[in-house]
Amino acid sequence: MKRIYVREEWCIGCHLCEYYCAFANSGERDMSDALRGVKINPRIQVEDADGGVTYAISCRHCERPRCVEGCITGALTVEDGVIRLDEEKCVGCYTCIMLCPYGAINPSDAGKSGRSRPIQKCELCLNNANGEPACAAHCPNRAIIFEEGGSPCGL
C-alpha cells in the first residue's frame, strides 16, 4: 500500500507539513480561516534535533500495530492497511499513546470547531476532504513522500 516515508536529509525544518496537516483536518475551506489565532496541534510533528537535524513523524500504519492490538475499546481498527480511529468509541484512555513506538498518536484538543475528541492520529487524510496526505503534497523539498512500500519495522 501507499505509505508516508520521510527523508530526513532532505527536510529543511520548515514545519509547513504541520500547518497543512492542521488545515486539512480543520474542516475549514480557507487556510487562513483555519489557522488564524490557532495554536496548531497537527498529526504530523517535526522534531528539531541537535545540529539542525529535522524530520517529520506521523503514523507509520504498522503492519503489526500495537495501538490497535492494545486499544481497549475497539476504536482503533485497520481498514485496507490504514489505521483508522472511531472518535465516537474512543474514551481517551491513552493506552495507544503508551504503546506507539513512534509517539505518533497524540492527545487532541477541541480545536476551532469546539468538538472535542480524545486523541488524534494521521489517517492519511482519508478522514478529511483532502483524500491524499496534505503533508506530502505540500512538502517543498519532497522530504515527505507518499509512495508504495512496506511497513517499517519499528522498535
Partner: protein, 416 residues
C-alpha cells in the same frame, strides 16, 4: 476441527481473530456466562459517567460473530471440563465436544474475608452487570465507601462521582494505586483526587462492616450507604486446575497459550505471562496482554505457531482529567525513595534503570508520546547507545542515531 472458547471478552476475541488469520474453516464455539455481545470491561466506569453507552462499548462490531462464523452460547456457564471425553459441560447439562479448548474465563472480584461482609449488601465492579446493579443502588445523597484504591476502585470512584453524595476510599496499602505508583506519584494523584472531594483512609484495613458503618483497623468508624469491594481480582482457573492443569496464581502456559493438558489452552487474566522486564511469571491483568495472549493461542490452535513473548506491564489510566502512564518494573523502595529525576507539580516523571537499560517509568500529567519510552523498555535498548538525556523531559525519536531512525521510520524503503 472444532475449537471451543470459554469466555467472550478480550482474550476470546483475540483468539477468534487469531484462528481466522490462520484457518477460515475451523468450527468455533464461544461459550459465555454473560448474555451480551463482547464488550470492553474497562468501559463500565465510563458508562456510569455517561461518557459511553452500551452500543459504543461493544469491543467488536455487531456483526463480529457472524462475519467470523462463530457459534455463540451466551448465558451458559461451563461447570466442568471432561478432558477424557474432550467435552465441556454446561450448567444446563449440555455437553459440547472440542478438538481444541481455550479457557479465556478471565477473573472475578476477590472479596476479602472481612467480618460482616458476607451477610451485608455490597457491590463489586468488574462486569456490565456489576455496573448496572451498582448504578441502581446509587442516589444523589449516597455516601459510598470503596474498599481498595487500585485501578478498579478509583475508576469506579470517577464513574460514580457526579451521581452520589460523597466517596470514601479505604486501602490496606499506605498509598493509592500501590501496584503501579511510587510514593511521590501516589501522593500527587491522591491530592488531585482529594481536590475532587474524595476522602482516603490509607494503610488501613477494613476490619468489619455491619451494613451501615465500616470499622477500620485504626479504630475509625466510616458510615456508608453503599459499599463497593474493589480489593483485587482472582483468576478463574478452577475448571482446569480441577483436572490437573499446572498453575501458580493463574494457569501456566507456553508462549502460545498451551496449558500442561493436551489440546487445552488458556489466555487472558486467567493465565500467567512471562514479564519480559524481569523474566518472571506473573499475572498481567491488562487488556492488551489478554488480547495478544488470546491471539497467539488462537493461531496456535489453528496450527500457526506465533509465540507472544513481549508481555510486560503497561498501564494507562486517567482519573478526573489527570493521566497516569506506567510501564515495566519499579526497582526501588517505593515508600522511602521518592525522588523523581524530572518533575514539576503537574508533570511527574520517574525512570528506573538497571544494567544499562530503562526497565520502567512512571509519568503523571503529560504522557504524550510515552510509547517511545515503552519501546525502549520492551526492546531493552542499551541506554548508552542513545541520547536519553535529550528525551527525559519529552520523548522524541531524536534520541536515536540517524541510521536507527531511518530504519524505524522507513524500514526497507530506500532513499531515491
Amino acid at each position: 476441527m472444532r475449537i471451543v472458547i470459554i469466555g467472550n471478552s478480550t482474550a476470546a476475541v483475540g483468539a477468534i481473530e487469531g484462528i481466522r488469520a490462520a484457518d477460515s474453516a475451523a468450527n468455533i464455539a464461544v461459550i459465555s456466562a454473560e448474555m451480551v455481545h463482547t464488550y470492553s470491561r474497562p468501559l463500565i466506569s465510563y458508562l456510569l459517567e455517561g461518557k459511553t453507552d452500551i452500543d459504543r462499548m461493544k469491543y467488536r462490531p455487531a456483526d463480529f460473530y457472524e462475519r467470523n462464523n462463530v457459534q455463540t452460547f451466551f448465558g451458559c456457564t461451563v461447570t466442568a471440563v471432561d478432558a477424557v471425553a474432550r467435552a465441556v459441560v454446561l450448567d444446563n447439562g449440555e455437553h459440547i465436544g472440542y478438538d481444541k479448548l481455550l479457557l479465556a474465563a478471565g477473573s472475578r472480584p476477590f472479596v476479602p474475608p472481612i467480618e460482616g461482609l458476607c451477610g451485608t449488601e455490597h457491590y463489586t465492579f468488574q462486569s456490565l452487570a456489576d455496573a448496572k446493579s451498582l448504578e441502581a443502588a446509587l442516589t444523589p445523597k449516597s455516601r459510598v465507601l470503596i474498599i481498595g484504591a487500585g485501578l478498579i476502585g478509583l475508576k469506579c470512584a470517577e464513574g460514580i462521582h457526579s451521581r452520589v453524595g460523597n466517596i470514601a476510599v479505604a486501602e490496606f496499602a499506605p498509598r493509592i494505586l500501590p501496584s503501579i505508583l511510587d510514593g511521590g506519584g501516589a501522593a500527587l494523584v491522591q491530592s488531585h483526587l482529594v481536590g475532587k472531594g474524595l476522602t482516603f483512609h490509607l494503610g488501613n484495613a477494613v476490619a468489619s462492616v455491619d451494613g451501615h458503618t465500616a470499622a477500620l483497623a485504626d479504630g475509625a468508624q466510616v458510615p456508608y450507604d453503599v459499599l463497593v469491594v474493589a480489593s483485587g481480582v482472582k483468576p478463574n482457573i478452577e475448571l482446569l486446575t480441577a483436572i490437573g492443569a499446572k498453575a501458580g496464581r493463574a494457569l501456566i502456559t507456553d508462549s502460545c497459550g498451551r496449558t500442561s493438558l493436551p489440546d487445552i489452552f488458556a489466555a487472558g487474566d486467567c493465565a500467567e505471562s512471562i514479564d519480559l522486564t524481569d523474566g518472571r511469571r506473573r499475572v498481567l491483568a491488562i487488556l492488551p496482554n489478554a488480547y495478544l495472549q488470546g491471539r497467539a493461542a488462537g493461531k496456535a490452535m489453528a496450527g500457526l505457531e506465533e509465540p507472544f513473548t513481549e508481555a510486560m506491564p503497561v498501564n494507562s489510566i486517567g482519573l478526573f482529567g489527570l493521566h497516569i502512564g506506567t510501564a515495566g518494573a519499579m526497582r526501588c523502595e517505593p515508600e522511602t525513595d521518592n525522588n523523581p529525576q524530572y518533575s514539576d507539580v503537574n508533570n511527574y516523571r520517574r525512570f528506573f534503570f538497571s544494567d544499562n537499560r530503562l526497565t520502567g517509568f512512571i509519568l503523571i500529567g503529560d504522557v504524550n508520546r510515552a510509547g517511545i519510552y515503552t519501546a525502549l523498555v520492551r526492546a531493552k535498548v542499551p541506554i548508552d547507545t542513545i541520547n536519553f538525556a535529550a528525551i527525559a523531559e519529552k520523548p522524541q525519536l531524536m534520541a536515536f542515531s540517524p541510521a536507527a531512525r531511518k530504519q524505524m521510520l522507513n524500514g526497507e524503503k530506500n532513499d531515491s
